[in-house]
Assembly symmetry: C2
Homo-oligomer: 286 residues x 2
Amino acid sequence: MIKETPYAAGNQDQISNTAPIHLIAKNTMTKTKQNTLFVSTLAKGLRLLRAFDETHTELSLTKLAEMTGLEKSAVQRLANTLHLEGMLDKDAETRRYRPSHAWLRLAYAYYWSDALVARAMPKLIDLSRHLGETVNLAELSGQEIIYAARLPCKRTTFAASVPGRTVPALSTSAGQCILATFPEEERAAAIRDWLVHAQTPRTTIDRAEISRQIGIVAETGHAITHGQMILSELGIACAIRGPDGRAWSAVHCSVSEHSWDIARIHEEILPWLQDTANAIQPLLRP
Amino acid sequence: MIKETPYAAGNQDQISNTAPIHLIAKNTMTKTKQNTLFVSTLAKGLRLLRAFDETHTELSLTKLAEMTGLEKSAVQRLANTLHLEGMLDKDAETRRYRPSHAWLRLAYAYYWSDALVARAMPKLIDLSRHLGETVNLAELSGQEIIYAARLPCKRTTFAASVPGRTVPALSTSAGQCILATFPEEERAAAIRDWLVHAQTPRTTIDRAEISRQIGIVAETGHAITHGQMILSELGIACAIRGPDGRAWSAVHCSVSEHSWDIARIHEEILPWLQDTANAIQPLLRP
DNA sequence: CACAAACATATTATATAATGATACGCTAAA
DNA sequence: TTTAGCGTATCATTATATAATATGTTTGTG
């Protein structure tokens, strides 16, 4: 809880972080009292970066304009700037832009700034070697879980093997066991308000059911979910608690339903998972 | 070689990608003919992002101003904007800024845009499981190698276990075996001009020696280096060639000198490494 | 092959919006 | 208590981003 509330912003060009960009568009040009501490040009540039995702891996100028809701010429200038600055690669043939290696460099800088990752990494490596299964370090990021470190051991979906993926906290074992450490009231509010999204046919979207599950998690100290994000995937997670007992991260293990059942998970995975989570000590980060 | 040369830039606020930011500073304010396709405000914002690295994990406003060479007030505005946009976290006590989770989200978007990673990932997982050793996917990025995907199997340094790290191509097995696939002339130019940096006491900085090594690599088809980046580390790499025979990426394996010798590497690692590299087919990316 | 549509690229007048100087206030050290 | 250092806030000025438009280039179609 160290994060502070950002300055109230006068310029409404800025967009909420979680909302899908392409839904905002257009009406961003209505001006209000300008906050001189907000540089809208920079914010617009960032919108271009955020336009890229799983389904938009390379974008033309016009597509970029469409997605960001910015003027064609603005996009032209901003994209060109990002290209010159090495933030976007440009395909000479198709003239389309793509994320550059600089995006990975930023991730590298992030890793050094997140003390938890440094702390966890060696222990996660040991764990994954011992289990022979995929383990992840998950952190709470708003209403979502972000997989900060991933050690895939078995072939799996691409989404499950690269870091940086975010999923609704309520729909994941990691999110559930983090929430289970929250004080009653906050937990209830989260269960009521936070986003859920039916990723698979088996994703639990009933909030009462989610509440019940998290209740159990709070008692047992671990969470197990079935096919919430990927069918036939079992997610097992233990929270990493801070000194106050509250967690904002978790150790997560992902296995296949076809090779594991609940009994074996309890015997062969949970003890080691719990151990690893405990061993990664509390730190100062949000 | 699909990348195109960016527009000539009129505004010299922009900085070369590879040069250390803090060395540029100051004299960026001398104006020239403005290129209207270059948005200097955006470029300045990016400078703030790039100010963060291994050694600068959280920065105060004044430190940020010092490092970027920007006015105190400019930094104030830009940092505040980045904070509002969710690109920088702010410690409420120390008032210092840090990379946010958004940096990992960008990395995630990058991964989807890089078809090679998607292609390589399952094969790298198999390889790392088979060898029981750390394997990486390395891509050429300017004069450097960037580790795009990392599958650490043994405890190692933090730098060697997170993706996004860049190292001089000439000093790494991955870089050497990529360069070995280049036409004679280009290779020579690279050996002559590209940066090298004495990371450890054992890093080869003699370009003649590097040239000799790459010559051998070109014949054998693989590269092995000793303690170039980390003492007691052996790096083994095989290039991933495109249809024209030229490579811009490599599969890399990192093992400890204490548990491996050259003979065993030839027997137990190289065949599988080579196999994996061959199996990851040519794609269209730069 | 010609024509049109779609898109990228380039230019310019205009006023919006970034600028940087400065002042204020807080905290911690002297 | 004073001072230094830093973060925060304000504002007049004009540099700089803007959006409209024109030009060039590629792609696809009748």
